[in-house]
Amino acid sequence: MAMTNLDTVRQAIELARAAGADEAEAYLARSRVLTVEVGSGQVETIKQAEDLGLSVRALVDGRVGLSYATDFDAASLRRAAQRAVEVARASDRDACAGFAEPETGAPAADGFDPEMDRHSADEKIERAFAVERAAKEYDARIVLTRRVSYRERVVTEALANTRGIAVEQCNNLCGGSAMVLARQGAEQQVGGGMDTKRRYAEFDACAIGRDAAERAVTMLGATDVATQRASIVLEPRMAAAFLGIIANLVRADQVLKGKSLFAGKLGQAVAGAGITLIDDGAYVGAPGARAFDDEGVPSRRTVVVADGVLQNYLHTTHTARQARAASTSNAARASFKAPPDVAVSNFALQAGPVAPADLRANVAHGLWVRNLMNLHTANPISGEFSFGANGMWIENGKLTRPVRGVTISGNLTDLLLNVRGIGNDLEWQGAMGLSIGAPSLLIEQVSIAGK
């Protein structure tokens, strides 16, 4: 008889116990992917696959070890279980090590969209063509597209541990992307569009194509500006990029290790008035929704910052024990091979009252930021950042000309405290298990380096 996913994870924890583990946990992920890339009206690549992986964590004498396998026969599971025990024996004893406890009566977020599977691959290929057509029809200066795609992913996860958790969930997502090139004379500019949705019906192929095209065309003729200190308005996508960095500051593991600017600041003002940050994995309207996190803890809503004041950090079972707090259901595995770490689920800066155009109308001189480069180099410990930026220059409240080749630099602490306006245009960016929502933001006192 075929084994269910729950049978497999239960077998893996039994094998770990048999190999010498005091306690054990097994996590299984089975994913199905479809990616279609088109160009010039032809299908360039189609990728489809079923992928599986299982990892075992063993607790031996207060030490934790992890191993994994991509084959689920008894011999492979036994080998992974034994390896997890061996690895645990080489690790350090940790009084806070251990696995999640079962919770009763927790609400389950079910964001699975059965609609996605009811549509044919042919129709989905057609959606990718629609992205490309929309981009090309936007403007005669759009000469090329690249990586125009439709993609979807269905992931089934099962988790069991020796504390009594045995859970399973299935989530799916679809989305698309486009890179579009606009040319005028010798100059060429690129624009990118991308969207991810939980509901197939909400996926708007044309909007992705138009967005990419608009970005490319708008940047034609861009020049730099003089080095100065000025205000910036971040569009929602760029505000979300910054929020992705801020998300590292509220991770309890980083806080406990003294590697966050927010360490020791609970109850203090860390952001401008009106800024509220909430993490909510149970919110099914956003891509990161899930019934439980990667340790099997049911999803919940956590207010991280309320009106500028830091309220809570985000926890896994391990950091919660260290801090004598409760898990906030923020355990995430980068892949089935990786141990759980703290990460946001659906993390959003709540929308404000101002229309984005009105945010810009308040700026005497400044940059409407529409693209940032080198985001991965921000330093979450010192808070220092310096990114390549482009966008549109704002003069006396009006958009005047495209700008490229400048950097914006500063410190995350100042940046958050200098937010002077919050847009009403919240957008979600994201992927399965992790998404970030943000509205436009007006920020003062940013260093802009140019000519």
Binding site: G41, A49, M219, A364, H365, N374, I381, A449
Partner: protein, 476 residues
Amino acid sequence: MTLDPNVLVAALNAGRAYWGDWAEIFAERRVDTLVVLDDGKLDKLSAGEEAGLGVRVFVGKTAAYVYTSDFSRQAIVEALRLAHVAANQRVGQTGAFVAALDRGVAMRPLAHYRIMPDGVPLADKVAVVRAADRVARGAGAAIRQVTATYTDSIQDVTIINSLEEVAQDRRVRTMFNLTVVASENDVIQTAFESTGGLAGFEQVADGVSERLARAAAERALRMLRAQPAPAGVMPVVCAAVAGGVLVHEAMGHGMEADFNLPSKPMSVFAGKIGQPVASANVTIVDDGTIPGLNGTLGCDDEGTPAQRRVLIENGILKNYLHDRTTAREMGVAPNGSGRRQTFRHLPMPRMSNTLMLPSQDDPAAIIHSVARGLLVKQMGGGQVNIVSGEFVFKVQEAFLIENGQVTEPVRGATLIGNGPAVLKIIDRVGNDAGPTRIGMCGKYEQGAPVAHGIPTVRVPEIVVGGIVAGMSETMR
């Protein structure tokens, strides 16, 4: 599971009906170990094994890719069938669209490692990170935090295709890195060091991790006394020790052939083979054959032997980096750049070890030539927009140059420029070859281990992003 080419060839033959114009199996098994020490304790420890295979079928220009972790003949034939159906879904132009290899090319020996990491006890790997932690913390009272990571991987690949080409490669990689955090009087600075290569445990053994820990700790302490970097346009000298992120971002990516196809010319370097694209003292190679370096391979992930490609020679653009698909479209031989992160990914042109070669200037004289500017001693991460040529990279360690002398350390600098423009204005290239540094290059969501290096070079003007004094105005 098996990586035996005979078994895979038999499975490929069993699925002959589904080959389309060209079919390929990429089979992979890898064993990884990860050791992370953080906050003075072992934070993550894992070891495990994964295996899978990807089947690629071309029908005309359309490629279909199906991957699985099931190695049975039945599963492979089913993957071929699915790929064939998918590839036939929207067929444009037909005819083989993937370049064959020149059969005269022989595979080179692959054993670049001395100590196989899978024979090294886990305790010895743990000792590498503990030693680094001890040394870094001992460097000064201001050292607050140390994160040290050791990884090793043994990746075995077999690549076979319907042209009856068979290639096998074993990539043994060992890597160590650490981040040190220093803080004093409300100033926090971090410093990073890393080493890694197509090498065994010898890459990190015999005090290597301690030496890197000392270097990182000392830099973090130095940077505590650094002033914020100036902002604006100024001359910049990149020291040979700085590593070649400049070359990788500003030049290398733009020379990947998928950005330069005649049918899809996206890169600023498209259509410029044989033309001057840089000053005459600039020669850049991408060389996947240098023993032990991080980007080195026996063969690429399409079975093409690794090669040394001259990209720019004395300022003239010579070659792009090709996988089989781009090579076919441009009518050249594939040159060993088709890489993929895992069996779950399609190959694409990637860099390996990208080096700017030394020229004739005296490094000290290059520094003396600058009245006021920046000396970059270590680069950090970067990014490039291949369409506009704009690149940006972080500077980990820099000093001011005033009247030809190296003076104060500065922190937080970022350089932003235009690749083609910078290539043309580089006016001094040193006669010193620097050590290579390693990186994990990201492109379209795939990572690839690479290395890069430069001699001392001077860029006479480039935008330095830093902190600007003054106030911004907001209308109320």
